[in-house]
Symmetry: C2
Amino acid sequence: MTTYRNAVLLLLLLMTLLTAPALAQKATWIWYPGDFEIWLGNKMQNRRTERGSFLPPFWKLDNHYVLIDFHKDFDLTEAEVAELHVEGQYNVKIDGKSLFGYPERISIPAGKHRISLKVFCQNSVPAIFVRGKKVVSDTSWLVTFEDKEWIDQSGKASDQSGTSWLNAAAWDFDDAASPPSAFKLALKAQSAVKTVRQGQSLLVDFGKETFGLVKLHGLKGKGIAGIYYGESREEALDTAHCETLDKLNINLNTKADTLSPLTKAFRYVNLQLGPGMSADSVSMLYEYLPVEDKGNFKCSDEEINRIYEVSKYTFHLNTREFFIDGIKRDRWIWSGDAYQSYLMNYYLLFDSPSVTRTLLALRGKDPVTSHINTIMDYTFYWFMGIHDYYEYTGDQSFIKQFYPRMKSLMDYCLSRRNKDGMMEGMAGDWVFVDWADGLSKQGELSFEQLLLARSLETMAISAKIVNQQADAKTYHLLAEELKQKIFGKYWNEDKKALVHSFLNGSPTENVTRYANMFGIFFNYFSDDQKQQVKKHVLMNPEVQKITTPYMRFYELEALCALGEQPYVLKEMKDYWGGMLKLGATSFWEEYDPARKGSEHLSMYGRPYGKSLCHAWGASPIYLLGKYYLGVKPLSPGYETYLVEPVLGGLKWMARYLHQKDRYVYIAIPTASGSAAPKVREPYG
Amino acid sequence: MTTYRNAVLLLLLLMTLLTAPALAQKATWIWYPGDFEIWLGNKMQNRRTERGSFLPPFWKLDNHYVLIDFHKDFDLTEAEVAELHVEGQYNVKIDGKSLFGYPERISIPAGKHRISLKVFCQNSVPAIFVRGKKVVSDTSWLVTFEDKEWIDQSGKASDQSGTSWLNAAAWDFDDAASPPSAFKLALKAQSAVKTVRQGQSLLVDFGKETFGLVKLHGLKGKGIAGIYYGESREEALDTAHCETLDKLNINLNTKADTLSPLTKAFRYVNLQLGPGMSADSVSMLYEYLPVEDKGNFKCSDEEINRIYEVSKYTFHLNTREFFIDGIKRDRWIWSGDAYQSYLMNYYLLFDSPSVTRTLLALRGKDPVTSHINTIMDYTFYWFMGIHDYYEYTGDQSFIKQFYPRMKSLMDYCLSRRNKDGMMEGMAGDWVFVDWADGLSKQGELSFEQLLLARSLETMAISAKIVNQQADAKTYHLLAEELKQKIFGKYWNEDKKALVHSFLNGSPTENVTRYANMFGIFFNYFSDDQKQQVKKHVLMNPEVQKITTPYMRFYELEALCALGEQPYVLKEMKDYWGGMLKLGATSFWEEYDPARKGSEHLSMYGRPYGKSLCHAWGASPIYLLGKYYLGVKPLSPGYETYLVEPVLGGLKWMARYLHQKDRYVYIAIPTASGSAAPKVREPYG
């Protein structure tokens, strides 16, 4: 284990930033944990349109609890008055005694008192904001939906009625006048870089992939204003096939500015005005989640630097209410896509609320009636996301609050094993793995079993955290048994690899990269096996190539884990550099270097079906942070960690870290050999 | 089995009314079954206030599914245009192809076509209204929340994706402009019978128990208008203790009419105006569910006739959005109370939607985290309600649509049996039985086991209906085993009765009426046992008396089942007649003849805590219909039935039945001995 003093310093600074306790006595809006996320997830995921038709998700959407009880016990040295703000219809009790009506202020005498609020709200999440001197709403309040279940598996005390109380949830709604139901992302006006006017049409170029509302300035006339969006120029111009469009019914006698009704992804906007209509110009309101970069990266290779910057932009565009897949479509939360965003996040934003919001929206509520997003692998990524979240942040509260939801989801998985105890697609299951031609999904896929094994390991870790030792033992045994079975069933000594599947009582002969690359960074292979897999699978051009950045992520991670940074650097430059050479301003859903011209734009049988800004395209953020800068936790929350920089062909790497009003500049093996941190003026 | 030709005719007429098929091609608003009921239940149950404080339920409230897919396949001989009305954000597909935007009309070509709508709605239930010539929305449409579960236990086909489709639900929303979210009960202006004005107060008497909004006519001035409601004069005048009140903040320079903000129960209204304020008069808007009586009853005893009429009024007041417990409080749906309303309904309204609405709102959704209303017995009454619904109506559709919810609730019950397989209160369980002083709830109560046995029998019947033979067998065996255990554990040969409970390994010596009376009309006793129980329990004044009409219902039913109509008639006259003699205009939550004066008004330690209009007070409707007129189904939906009138001390009984524009008059043993139906002019 190699550690560099400068990198250690970097991490200590990082951890200071991450573990700073919330200010005491600061009032914030609170609610039942997970409910805001589900409510907001419904709202966001129902904003997708396709050629002007509403296109909602095709799985069960859950709902917030409409009736919530909040309480906290206070011991006040002096009497005080607290103001109340509530989303919903409510009552307030002091020591169990109801106050009249819907008070906006309450007086609490000195001494020990229990303040309780009970709130009913159908349209949005029941939420409260209480602000007195000591009596303030924060996550130390307890909440229940009055389940009346005696829950002990979470380690939470239930009261005598069997009701389980969780800690209230909050985000950053610290303003009484801005309740959770009013949540909106930030907006910023941005101008076009080029506008071409031709007759009744304006083709507007914003210079790069972007997202937000389109503003039509000085619009006038009566008729339809058609807005055709394009991630590419081709798409915007092809009004018959572009993926998204709006048709505004306009009736304006005098010039006025008009906003498009719904945020969209685009670089180009093709405005088509009806006869007699006119518009002065087109600009936009860029919509974004205001979240700060905590990581950065520079190195000696300018192409890698550009790949990093475009990855960062791609990642920011897809980091919104939640970590979404892509901004053009689906604009949904897909667990497999989100899983990669969690990992990138730990190397760029370190924004834990974005991780937990996404995990919660994905999980929804019981009963579990299908896999997450209906996809078997995506359920497992959900567990793996919790594994990593705990590893990177050390935060046990998610597991403590939601262990019952973890357990019931795992129960669902275990109940769907076949008679041999393996996961196999059943009616209603989508076995995804990757977008790849001819990939078989029949029978028991080795890939799915590996993911289940890792999920069971996550459950074992989590069960320990909530002090459920019997569960921990069960999950540990299930994981061990499954890993043994995996090697018994899939390891092919001739092929030196795990085969793809087990079908009709026998392993197939088919070797794919999927299970093999996960086996490496899950550390399920012996050292020997790792070298064999590297040679016979990962570096073997005969094995079907991966064409999505999604699976390239894991492929390159596996190679990095095997010390192949120089090779991976070249792959990154080829693959991501390849997209840049084609003019990408954000990274794509899929990139096959063998395709030509506008072939790159098509997918799903549609000429512009492909998303040109997909979160999973941003993986260099993760690869460069984890395997070149070489920073990773060895125990939860970086209590112990490894910093093992690998230049991998680069001459130097550097990382800037914001520390109050200054930036600390960290250089890892510099040309001069100096490793000391340099303090510089803000980096622009 | 005795049948009377006239009564047979009556029933045939009755069945004609009940089984009339809905008009073909009539468009109606449709939604996912159960969802409107849950949504409306939340709305209604969150209208309770106590002395001006919001008082919501103390159990988990569920929610509608926010995203629903609707479809139906049509085969059209000619093209047509259909209008669409939708509650929520939606898309429309014809044969899988999305239409642009949110169309209000669609054109469907001739031939076979699938029309699909997918609707997202958070605030109310996703609902659609489609009206073309043949393309109309009705309950033949299929709906799903995209569970992706392969459900075969309901006998419903799931599609290839594993999604289960149910038939859409409807009620009577046949007007496109009146969608389900706009549902409101009917209102009717009513006047006070007496107003006493004293200084700044008006005491207004509406002459009888009633429910609705209070209208303050010609209100003027600035300040607080306090409205104090009283089911009794004492309550309205006791502003410091009355159960409900409103304080209106008034600022009127000129006279205006003002409505109270929320419906309330009252006979008396005490209006207290602040200094300088004035009002001309007080009237009300009576709020009610417009539902017609299909039954009626007259007999030779005028007191019984009055009891019947007051029962009817009591029942109507409590038959609202749902069958509620009482109109002053709790205004909630309590399963035990509702169970009796179902039974009364079959002898007065025969309004199936009121039964199924109530059953669905009570059941809510999975996961089950507590007993219904948190009460163990109330869960069992839910099953029993389905048993009777099927018996009286023959309608299998409820069971077919909701068998999975029945099964998961029964799973919950079975999972909470103790190690001896018996139901015993666990943390979070409320074991209710009845309001009765000193009633023990410790250990295994015989009463609860009987109710579970009946519930298991209901499950066995239901499983057969959905063709789940294995389930049917399991439930049947469980019921048989449990009944054997009940007699083994609780039957005391010395006491000739089932004892109350089994505690610390032994049966107690305590005999109560509860299990014994249910054992009779469940037909669990042998004929010998019945006679023993009658003598040693039901007719035995040493056994603790019942003081709630709630349990009087079953006590008198058991006696009627044993042929004790003359005795029960006397009991009815004493008990219900007793309330009438005290001036009751509706029947009470509890009546103990031993109490005096205003003692009758108190309950729960509050001087006016008792409800003076409680649904369970209306049981004479049921007793007179089932055990005097003697009409009951012998097989589901009256396919075979028994009509066995018993005068029980009455000289004659008669029933009027509405048949189109005429009334058929049925007299059962008339003084003259004639049994032929007489056709008369409308009965006023």
